[in-house]
Structures are given as C-alpha cells and as structure tokens.
Symmetry: C2
Subunit: 315 residues, 2 copies
C-alpha cells in the first residue's frame, strides 16, 4: 500500500483546520426534553461535517497524488477540500440525486465530479470503472478505511473529555465509519460510555445486521431524507468494531428526523442536515429509556440544500 505512517509537512499544516467539535449545553433543549443531553456538533467543522476529520487524516497519510472516492456528498466535499489544501487531484463519484449544495461544494474545491444513476449502477461499480482510467489514483472508501476510522476517532476522544462524562453517546449510522471511530476514540480515552446507533427506519441495515449478527445489505440505496446514510451496508472494518461495542441501534421514522431538524432550529439555533439530526431523533424516539442518563447526541453535519431546509422548517 502506498501509505505512510508519518504525515508530511502539508498534512501537519492541514491539521489546524480540524475544528474541535462544538459542544452545546442548551438550557432550552434540556428544559423542553426533560433529559440531560449535550450536543456534540460537527456542523461547524471544516466543510460542514465530521467527514473532514477522516478525509484530512487519509490525505495526510496517502502518498498518491490523485485520490478518488464515491460519496453522496459530505465525504466528497471533505476529500476535495483536503486535496485542494495539499495540492492533490481529486475525483468524486456522486449519485445524480445528491443534494445540489453538496455537488456545488465539491466542484468548488476544484475536484472532478462524476455523476451516476445509482438505480442502474452501484457507486462501487462506477469507482471500479474509473480505477481503470486512473490507475495511479488511491481509492478511498468514505467509511471503510483505517485512516477514516482513525481520523474519526479524534471525535470520540473529544467526547471522552466532557465533564461530567456522558453515559451514552448516540451516533448517526450510515457506513459506520463515524460510529466505529467514536467507539475507538472513547476506548483510547478509557471512557466507558455506551454507544448507540441512530438510523432511519427506511435504511435500517445496521439494526438488521446487529439482530442477525452479520452484515445485512440493502439491494438498492434507501431513499431516506437523511441523504448522508443512503449506503448499501456497513463497512467490514467498521462492523468488526461495532458488532461488539454498540449497545443497540434506534430506528427512526422520517417524521422523527424532520421533527429533530426543526427542534434544532427552534431551540438551539443549529442548522442541521437530516442525517445530523438522527441522534436527537433517536433520543426522542426512545425518550423514556434515557431518563437518568447523561446523553451526548453527535450531530454529524449541517450541509442541507436550502430548498429542502425550507420545507423542513415550515409549519
């Protein structure tokens, strides 16, 4: 593998752009919910989601001058930004149905965007085709790559530093990279908080996998409003971490996701994308089970098309 354990000078310079997560202890939210809840928001992270942690870590360590990925948007944008910061070429395969904001943002960093119809071709197939065209490119999985888990672990270490320590951490699940990273980071820090996944009911492969004890995949990409978690299945490396360390997965109906976005708007002044609202939606779904806990809800990102957001905050 064309990978180095040491970061180059450019990689170290890029580290300054990894923003510590924004901890929000909201009086109004706590009053409204009657639950001790803390928000760890990645909406203000560079490129607007936790994905920059993974992407910058990967770009720092990989020696290739060209990096390719398939991403519904946030990892694509993060990778494009990290590549722009370090002078690398970047190619991002995106579903044609991705949020327009996300496509524009990836292109804004000078990356090449290849749009595909995910009903006729999987993202993996598209990437494999491109790999023939670009034999020197490194193919980065948005979620199933050791540098990705390692990059995301920094968020787990930050959550572990909260005082008082949370007893439960709720994390949105798509491919599982964030969840596996957080489990790893909490473990690194000796924090015993339990990790609970939050997943749309329409895209509940992680919940199914946990019940089956093995990875269960969707046949086609689920069309949940949480466009950041429209993955076919968990990544294998993530599953290896998650299967033993994730207490449960809460499945959230679409209406619950919308409601959580609106609560963030009304009570916290936080602009959250539907995927990012999954953790609060999960908390609301199983509210009574969290009494007596100190819950940390991880908000994975805030990039949402204005047209979608207008609908979400409508009466």
């Amino acid at each position: 593998l064309n990978i180095s354990k040491k970061k180059g000078q450019e990689g170290r310079k890029m580290d300054r752009w990894v923003r510590p997560t924004t901890i929000i202890d909201s009086y109004k939210l706590k009053q409204a919910l009657g639950i001790e809840v803390i928000i760890a928001s990645e909406t203000l992270q560079t490129t607007g989601s936790f994905k920059f942690r993974a992407a910058s870590n990967l770009v720092s360590h990989v020696r290739n001058k060209h990096i390719m990925t398939a991403s519904s948007g946030n990892f694509g944008q993060a990778l494009a930004c990290a590549c722009a910061m370090t002078g690398k070429k970047c190619t991002v395969v995106m579903p044609a149905t991705s949020a327009e904001t996300k496509i524009i943002a990836v292109r804004g960093f000078g990356a090449e965007v290849v749009l595909i119809d995910t009903t006729s071709q999987s993202r993996g197939q598209a990437v494999n085709e491109l790999a023939l065209k670009y034999p020197d490119a490194y193919i980065a999985s948005p979620y199933d790559d050791p540098w990705v888990i390692d990059g995301n672990a920094s968020l787990g270490r930050e959550v572990a530093q909260l005082r008082p320590r949370p007893t439960v951490v709720i994390v949105p699940i798509g491919g599982g990279g964030l969840c596996a990273g957080i489990i790893q980071g909490l473990k690194d820090s000796g924090c015993a908080a339990e990790v609970i996944g939050a997943e749309p009911l329409l895209a509940n492969d992680a919940a199914q996998s946990l019940r089956a004890g093995k990875i269960i995949a969707h046949d086609t990409e689920p069309q949940t409003i949480a466009d950041g978690v429209r993955t076919l299945s968990l990544g294998r490396q993530n599953w290896a971490v998650m299967k033993d360390h994730m207490r449960t997965v809460i499945e959230v109906p679409e209406d619950g996701i919308r409601r959580a976005v609106r609560i963030f708007y009304d009570l916290v002044n936080l602009k959250v994308e539907p995927t990012g609202a999954l953790s609060l939606a999960a908390l609301l779904e199983m509210k009574d089970s969290f009494r007596g806990e100190l819950v940390c809800c991880v908000v994975s990102g805030g990039n949402v098309d204005p047209a979608v957001y207008q609908t979400l905050i409508g009466a």
Copy 2:
C-alpha cells in the same frame, strides 16, 4: 438604587449558563471573501443571543423581585430566562410586530408579555405606564444600563483573547449596548483592536450621531428587516463610550443583510438572524478597506422566525 455589587448564590449559579462565544474560523468563508475574517457567534448563547450576558448580569445584581423591560425580543427572552432561573417575576413590553418566535420564547419562560402598537405609543411610554401599575419593579433598559454594558463587556474580553489578535471588530448596533460593552471589554484586556459599527441604512441613527457628534434619534421605529436594531436612538451611557472609541459606522442596505444571512447559511452552516448578519454585511459592503486586516465579525444572535428565514434562504 436597589442594586448590589455582589452577586447572590443564584446569580453565581446562573453564570454557568453564560456560554463563551463560539469562535468560527471558516476556511470556506475566508476562501470566498479573500479576507482574514473570524466569526464570534452568539447564536448558540443561552436564549440565542448575546443579550443573556447582559440580562443575567443585571438579574444577578438587582435585588427587586420583579423586573420589567421593553424589548423587541432578544433582551426580553434573555431577561425572562434569567428571571426564571432565579425565581423572579418578569414583564416584557414588546412591539406587536415582533418576530413571533421571540414572543413565544418570552412567554415560554413564564414572563408576562405586553404587546404594544409602536406607531401610536413608544416603548418607553408603555413602560412608564406599567411602572405605575408595578411600583416595586426594576425597569431594565435593554441597552442603556450599567449592568448591561458590564455584562456585554465579557464578550469583548473573550474577543481580546483571540490569537492572533483581531485588528478590527465589527459589531451590530441598535441601542449600542453591545458595542459599548465590547469597547469596554477590549479596553479591560488591553486590546487595541478598532471597533466598527454595523447598522442598517434604514436605521442609521448611530452613523448620523457619529457625524453630528451628538445623539440623533429617529421619530418612529425604522422598519428594517434587522428587527433587533429597530431602536429610536443610542443609549446615553453607550454613546458616552462609543463617541470616542468607535472608528466608524458602516451603513448596510437591506439586500446586503439578506445576502449575509444567506452566506452564513451556505458557507458556515450558521443560522443567523438578520440583525446578527449586520457585521458580515458591513464587511462585504466595504470589503476592499479590510484587506490586510484581521477582522472579527460579531454575530449578535440567531433567533429568526421560520417564515422569515425561509424567504431569506430562498434562491
């Protein structure tokens, strides 16, 4: 004056809810503007605006069990929250045209709301009438009170701690309480950054005052979209601080305010109310004059009616 220099136990407990300002060093914003700019956002402050700094400081020091104010919303909400935290009664006089979100929020903290028609009666008149009804109440000015300036000064001290230090701080101006507080806080910390006011062109009494060398007042409340700065004039105590220490006031057209709200949405994932966007709008208005500076834009708050925000983020 029924005021104590010492805070009671409840006041000290309330201090934990004064959130340090959220500093945002946005790569995307800097790239887009080509200016070295840092955001100091009070949108995540308790009750969603900087006003909680002033209100909690005032409530901590005033001994009266009932506090009254006239406020277009953010100070009212902050005061209502601080009173609820300390078990005091609160009455807030609000223009009937205030953002609905803000009225609901004030009532949500158990405060009494008195709505007035500002075209037929000034807020001051309405408060004076109520003072006869409630002779034991302390009447708090949302901006012209020593405890208000003193509370807001904490934000200036936080901005002064930024490294590298900003050379210019741009601050939205309504009654001038935030601006005077920030000037005071920067001075306390020995920070030589220049302070520039940001004001809607439709409500440019501070700019007029600075030109005239004395307080100039509007006859009626100006109908700018920035509803947090629809004040008739600067407070006298604020003016005393501002007249010698504010470099200039940038007057911003309504379209510039809308544009700044949208830029915060697109590039920073920050939900900002029109008043809060004044500082960025001012920067955009006079962009070339800020080259070579390190600019800190203070975002005063984020409470905005969903219906208004829907329009603001529309294409």
